[in-house]
């Protein structure tokens, strides 16, 4: 005797095709909220312009290794725009779009990659987690944050992002399992940009989707075109509001593409075809949203020039602030290790200060 005891499916969501045309019959309200879409578009342009600037700084020796977010702008900003300030964000290392939306400053981003811990002392939501380099570990921190909100009966949601590569790590899967076990207000975004440094998505596993990892623990799981801001925002909004209303955690796979090297220390031409990258450019999120706004008569070249000028100016201010930030000083190595410096570190601090004299 055999009987089906459980069945599942994963849905894929998209509203804007790669040429910026609305597809499908059910046109969401957001597609007509041009004020919102324009402000999002502006942030997307700012994010990308900042990204180029950061790479330029690195190339001229003014910044350390930097992980670009080129191509991820829609996906990242959709996460920001679907969250509330009191929600908690646990980022990976290239989530500037989300972070800029939430209030982290460009200066802070530069400080971090410029080798200065003060970058992680965000002016953005003070409870958000810092950039997380050990892949996937942030997912469990987010689960912990969600646990706090649940235990305290606060209507807050924790949101975290992990890559297609990172989705293979046990931490993600344990976070998914914890979300199920404790019914946590948690949304785990798998940012599938097709590459984990030189390892393509297809080598992480042979499953059709990465979203289905959520099904393993019975979570709501969906896939979305991450280069379509409208679809991404709506899918994220739904997942976050489910979590907020006690309807459970979600795993959202956003399909996007890493349009440049993994970091400035990488050379992607060693391992992937130019043709693939060129093809991917045709789906990139900013042109797509611009085309849509233009087709709706909401955007034009003049507005674009004005925006570019404004953006260049704010970035300029941020870069100056970064470059003018004085050294953190020797004592800073010691002062934040503990709330109160233990005797052994006190002695080492004195030694270090004396040595520096």
């Amino acid at each position: 005797m055999s009987a089906t005891v459980a069945s599942f499916s994963v849905e894929y969501h998209q509203f804007l095709d790669r040429d910026g045309r609305l597809i499908g019959d059910d046109i969401p309200e957001l597609a007509k909220d041009f004020e919102k879409l324009i402000s999002i578009y502006k942030l997307m342009v700012q994010t990308r312009t900042f990204d180029f600037k950061a790479i330029a700084l690195q190339r001229t020796g003014k910044l350390g290794t930097y992980a670009s977010c080129l191509g991820h702008e829609a996906a990242q900003i959709s996460i920001g725009s679907a969250m509330r300030e009191e929600d908690c964000f646990a980022p990976m290392y290239r989530d500037y779009g989300t972070q800029l939306y939430r209030g982290v400053t460009m200066t802070e981003i530069l400080l971090y990659w410029g080798g200065d811990e003060r970058g992680s002392d965000y002016s953005g939501p003070r409870h958000d987690f810092a950039w997380c380099v050990p892949i996937a570990t942030q997912c469990l921190h987010a689960a912990g944050a969600a646990m706090v909100y649940k235990l305290r009966d606060e209507k807050r949601v924790a949101v975290t992002v992990v890559g297609d590569g990172g989705s293979s790590k046990g931490d993600v899967l344990e976070a998914i399992n914890a979300a199920s076990a404790y019914d946590l207000p948690l949304v785990i975004v798998i940012m599938n940009n097709q590459w984990a440094i030189s390892v393509p998505r297809s080598k992480q596993n042979r499953a059709k989707t990465l979203a289905q990892k959520g099904l393993g623990a019975g979570l709501h799981s969906a896939q979305v075109d991450g280069n379509d801001y409208i679809a991404s925002h709506l899918v994220m909004e739904e997942a976050i509001e489910r979590a907020r209303n006690g309807e459970g955690a979600s795993v959202i796979e956003m399909i996007t593409y890493r349009l440049t090297d993994h970091t400035t220390a990488d050379d992607a031409s060693r391992y992937r075809e130019n043709a693939e990258v060129e093809e991917a450019w045709k789906s990139e999120p900013i042109a797509r949203l611009r085309k849509y706004l233009e087709s709706e008569g909401q955007w034009d070249d003049k507005k674009q020039s004005k925006l570019e000028k404004e953006v260049a100016e704010v970035i300029d201010v941020a870069v100056k602030e970064y470059l003018n930030t004085p050294s953190p000083g020797i004592a800073s190595m010691f002062d934040y290790m503990y709330a109160e410096l233990p005797h052994d570190l006190q002695a080492q601090k004195e030694f270090a200060l004396k040595e520096a004299e």
Binding site: S120, A130, G144, L151, D171, H343
Partner: protein, 326 residues
Amino acid sequence: MPKVAMVEALSLAMGSELRADKDMVIMGEDVGINGGVFRATSGLQEEFGDLRVIDTPLAETMICGMAVGMAAQGMRPVIEAQFMGFVYAMVDHMISHAGRMRHRTRGRLSCPMVLRMPFGGGIHAPEHHSESTEAMFAHMPGIRVVIPSSPSRAYGLLLASIRDPDPVVFLEPKRIYRWGKEEVEDDGEELPLDVCFLLRDGTDVTLVSWGAMIKETLEAADKLAEQGISAEVIDVATISPLDMDTIIESVEKTGRCVIIAEAARHCGVAAEIAANLADRGIYNLLAPVKRVTGYDTVIPLYRMEMKYLPSVERILNTVKKVFAVS
């Protein structure tokens, strides 16, 4: 006041702080209705409910990673690894996050959590239930490592660990969980997390130890007294930060030091103490600094484990050596 064993004192401390601090929660495998496999959390879920004393899925990385997240968001998780042999899946989150949270964010976020676990051998337990790898944690910046060796020190040190604003690894010598009962007043008084405890005054040799080996060390000191050798016994108690001043002061007086540790010798905590003596204490030494430790082997299954663990006899033989040479 009735006398209690160490494991009961730990339970008292956790109960006391659960009562005092609504942000404290306990999480771990079997910590709830079962009260932990050694009963250290016995009765706590009954008193405080399953939102304060929380059973977890069987996933150590999850427990530790979530605790980091919870601590950073303002709670005080006290988590348990069921045995030290199962803590290794927690190492990543301890070293990469717990010990770095405050430093990384310039104090914006911090990580006031406690990771408790029973450790050490000598209870005839199965494989992986007898580990002593405290050195691994002692080497991690940003983390305190605390080891009690009596019921009252267990009580006061655990309270201080829970209240400490930074992460603490709290290692419980399970071989003496039920040894050396004492009257422990449940008065909420904590003990300092940065000093050694002088357990016995002496003038001829300093015996330094921690955890369950304190038992054999005190016995050895008794035996030495019978032989006319006056041994000072120091319980290190907090292996990070390590209070070398007290140890060096003692060696200034005795001129001799033997360090007793259950862990494997190579790169263990005993080495750190000896290294400090080779530097700051060198002019006071009348004899080589000797270590009595476990061997650099896996701790064997229980038929042979007592041959692995330092015995009173091994301590006495070693002390004999530091007198032979002067």
